[in-house]
Every structure is written in structure tokens, then in C-alpha cells.
């Protein structure tokens, strides 16, 4: 399971289960994916050296898309953090009274 080329490049010797029916497969390493965006991201991360111009463009678009989704996630996560922090603070304050 050696993996020295960087993150997002996890490459086990074999993919278990039944990858034959996977909707998308990497044509370089055979890794199966459920969604096309993950295949696109995987290609850019794991095989950056031999991408066609079209694939590079796809990767950039998928990456920008992901960035926007992460942005939304961060807002929700921040909300949850505030809730945990002030929730506990309030409970402590109420008990101290």
C-alpha cells in the first residue's frame, strides 16, 4: 500500500467488491467511481502528469465546484461550532447561578 506521490492518490493493489458495474472507471489505474466528478478529481490528483488539455479543464471546473461546496460546508460547520460553544457556555452559566 505504498503511496509516495501525494494525497488523493490512494492506490491499493486491488479494488475489492465488483467494480465491473461501476458507472465510471479511471482509464489509467482502473479505480472505480460512483460519480463522474470524483473520477475527474481523481485524474487530476493521481495522474497529474499525463492529462489531456480537456481533462485539465474538467479538473479545474470540478475543483472550482468543490471549492464552492466546501464554502457552504464551512458555514454550516461554523454554525455547529458556535452552537456547541455557546450551548455549553449557557448551560454552565445557568448551573452556576
Amino acid at each position: 500500500m505504498s503511496n509516495d506521490t501525494g494525497r488523493g492518490t490512494f492506490a491499493p493493489e486491488a479494488f475489492e467488491g465488483d467494480p465491473a458495474d461501476a458507472p465510471h472507471r479511471c482509464d489509467r489505474c482502473g479505480r472505480p467511481f460512483e460519480r463522474e466528478e470524483w473520477l475527474t478529481l481523481h485524474r487530476g490528483l493521481a495522474h497529474p502528469g499525463d492529462l489531456t488539455d480537456a481533462e485539465k479543464e474538467q479538473f479545474r471546473a470540478a475543483h472550482a465546484d468543490e471549492q464552492a461546496q466546501l464554502h457552504r460546508f464551512r458555514l454550516i460547520a461554523l454554525g455547529a461550532l458556535v452552537l456547541i460553544y455557546f450551548g455549553l457556555l449557557l448551560i454552565y452559566a445557568l448551573l452556576a447561578l
Binding site: 494525497r7 491499493p12 467511481f33 473520477l39 478529481l41 479538473f59 464551512r74 460547520a77 456547541i84
Partner: protein, 463 residues
Amino acid sequence: MQRPDPRRGPFIHRLAAGLVLGAILLAGTAAGHGGSLASGARESIAIPLWLFLATGGGAVGASFLLASFVTDRLLVERLDDWRRAIPVPGERIVVRAMQSLGLIGLGAVIVFGLVGPPEAIANVSVLLVWVGWWSGLAMVAYLVGNPWPALNPWRTIAAVLPSLDRHYPDRLAAWPSVAGLLALVWIEVVSPLADDPRLLALVAIGYTLVTMVGVVLFGADVWFDRVDPVARVFSAYGHVAPLTRAPDGLSLRLPGVGLSRGVATDWSDVAFVVALVWTTTYDGMVATPLGDAIVVPLAEAGLPPVLVYAGGLLVGYALFLLAFWLAVRASQRITSTRLSVRQLAILFAPPLLAIAAGYHLAHYLGYFLNLVPAFVAAMTAPMAAPASVPVLAIPGWFSGIALAAVVLGHLLAIWIAHTVAYDVFPGRLQAIRSQYPLVIVMVVYTMVSLWIVTTPAIDPQYL
């Protein structure tokens, strides 16, 4: 080989990510101080138990959220890959010295166990095993680096023994070490191994004989890598530590990053990690009122207590395995990944070793410091009957360190699992989501651990 550009975030992003990481570590310390205040001031403010546990669980959940803010793949990658080589002058002499020390230690355990004073607290054998080795050396293994491969007296003896090089059945994998670990912990709990130097010496002799037969049959490497539970426990803890053995001396890395790859390769390795986490918990749980509440009725109903403890050990272990398996399967569903549950379990079990290390520290640091003076006194006069045994008084605020250790272990595990998830999943949101079920399990487990660590230990009725 240049990757496409978008992955390189601006410097300010990396700086922000660094600050968040710092905040995670601070949050851990702050939680520790809070805990110490809570335990020191419990009489005056009396924080209810549920709130104390909720705070611990909340700290772990919050640190997962904080870790999820670090979305710069390059930063995650750099923290994981950072290494510094540390040359060791005279490495061969150092190793020889450690090997000799290990042999002397084993000899001392056996000889003074048999002929030393029968009082456990004054006996070198008992103190060397429980204070010096099982507490102190294990702490060195996860806080500094694993010294056991050099110290291991049985490995040193094995080097001069002939080997029949029998083929070790591959399908056994590391399962014997899982059974061995459970058996050792069971023996430790149900027998007076920590009170009876004679018995301890006999167990040491028995363990030596079994190990010698094993290494002669299968060879030392197979035996200590796959079968010997002790060597595997130290090796597992060693992956948490910042120092590791490199071809030319030592290598320094950030704590915990040794868990991010290559630690587990099959189900038996996963089972061993879960067994280590469970046995540290079990060890603490038998001395709580809950432990007795389960054992006493069963024992009064006529079941032999020794078997009740074995049953509890196995049932609890099965529950831990089930919880981990369910979490990993849920993670597989949430991420709609094409990786098997087995592959995901192999990837996400090793980070749990940081939790086991944190829990071990919480459980044993006070015990270790308390008995170090007795250990030193016994070493200087191994045959003397005790007039008075010196011990170190542990101040009350010290329990705060134990709580901090539990929370810090979880924080480290969360960060390493984050690193692994980024390595495995092409989508970063997919990587974050993969951790939801595991974080829920960790939050629950933190609360259980904190409860055990802060519950005053009782003397179990049947031990």
C-alpha cells in the same frame, strides 16, 4: 511533476489552516485545564456528571469540525510527510547496550521474583514489570519512540537460537496476537500477578519458554511481527511516537503521522487495534462500580468469577468490533465509495491507536509517578525487606492531565483520520463526510473513557 494549479491555495489560506490547527491543540489543553478545575473544585461548584461528559464529547466533536476547516491538500500532505533525520553516533554500541539491559531486566524479573522479598511494593520483579515496563516503557513507546525491538530480551536470545523455519500458515495472519493480547489482559485482571512476585516470575518463565518454542519453529521475524502480543503492542504504540527507526539512525516526524499508512494490512491487524483500545478500557472498567454491578450478580448466581471476567472481556470486545464495523460500513454508504468495508477498516483503524495511547497515559501516568521512588528504592536494595517504602504523593490537579490525555488522544486520532481520508477520497467533501460515523463513535467513546478515568476506583469484590 507539476500538478494542475488550482490545488495550490494562496499563502493566506495555509496560514489560516495553520492557525486552526494550533487552535485544535489549544482546545485540547484548554479542555484539560477545564477538567482539572472541575475535579479540583467539584465540592464547591458540583458540575453534574452529564455536563462534564458532554463537555468532553463536545470538545472532540468541535475539534472534528475545526479539522474539517483544513481543506488545503498540500498542507495536509506536508504535515504528514515532514521528516528530519537524526544520526545516532555509535548506533551498534547503543543497540548492544539496550539488548544487554533487556536481558538483565528479564533475568532480574525471574531471579528477584523467586528470591526477593514477597511484598509486591518492595519487590524489584513486580515493580520492574508493572512500573518500569508496562507503564513507563509503554509511555516511552508512544511519547518518544518504540525501544522494544532493541530491548526485547527474547529477540536477543532468539538471535543465537537455531530456527527450523517452519512455514507459518498465512491464513492465521496476526490472529494469534489478538487472542494472546486478550488472554494476557484476562490473566492480568483475574490473577494476583501484580501482588505475587513468585507467580509473576513463573509467568515470565512460561512466557519465555513459549516464545522460545515459537521463534525456533517459525523464526524470530514472523514470531515478533505476527504472533507475540507484547512486541505487537509496543510496535502499535511506536507508530504514535515522533521518533522512528530509519536505515541510518533515527527519523523525527510529527506525533501520530506514523499511523497514516501501512500500519494495518488485513482484518487481523484491524482486530488487534480494536483489541488494544478495548483492553485499555476494560482494564479501567473492572475497577469501577459498574464493573462490580455486572460481575457480582452473575458470580452470586453461581458462575465462577474468573469465567465471568473472561465473558465480559469477550462480550465487550465483540461490541467494540461491532461498533467499529458499523461505523465503517456507514462511512462506506455515506461516501458511496467503491472501496470495500475491509479496505476502509484497514485505513481507518490505525488512527484509533492514538486514542489507546492517550487512554494508557491517562490510566498509568499517576500510577507510574506514584511508584517511581519505590522502584528506585527496590533497585538499590533488591533483597532488603521493606522498612518503609517511599512513594510520591500525586497532587489533586494531576487528574487534569489524565483528562487532557484522553481528549488529546482523540484529537490526534481525528487529525490523522482526516489526513487518511484526504488521501483516500478524491472529493474533499466526500473525505469530510466519511468521518461522520467514526466521529460519533469517538464522541461516545470519549465520554465513556472520561467517566472511567474520573470514577474513583473500587476494589472489585471478586478479584
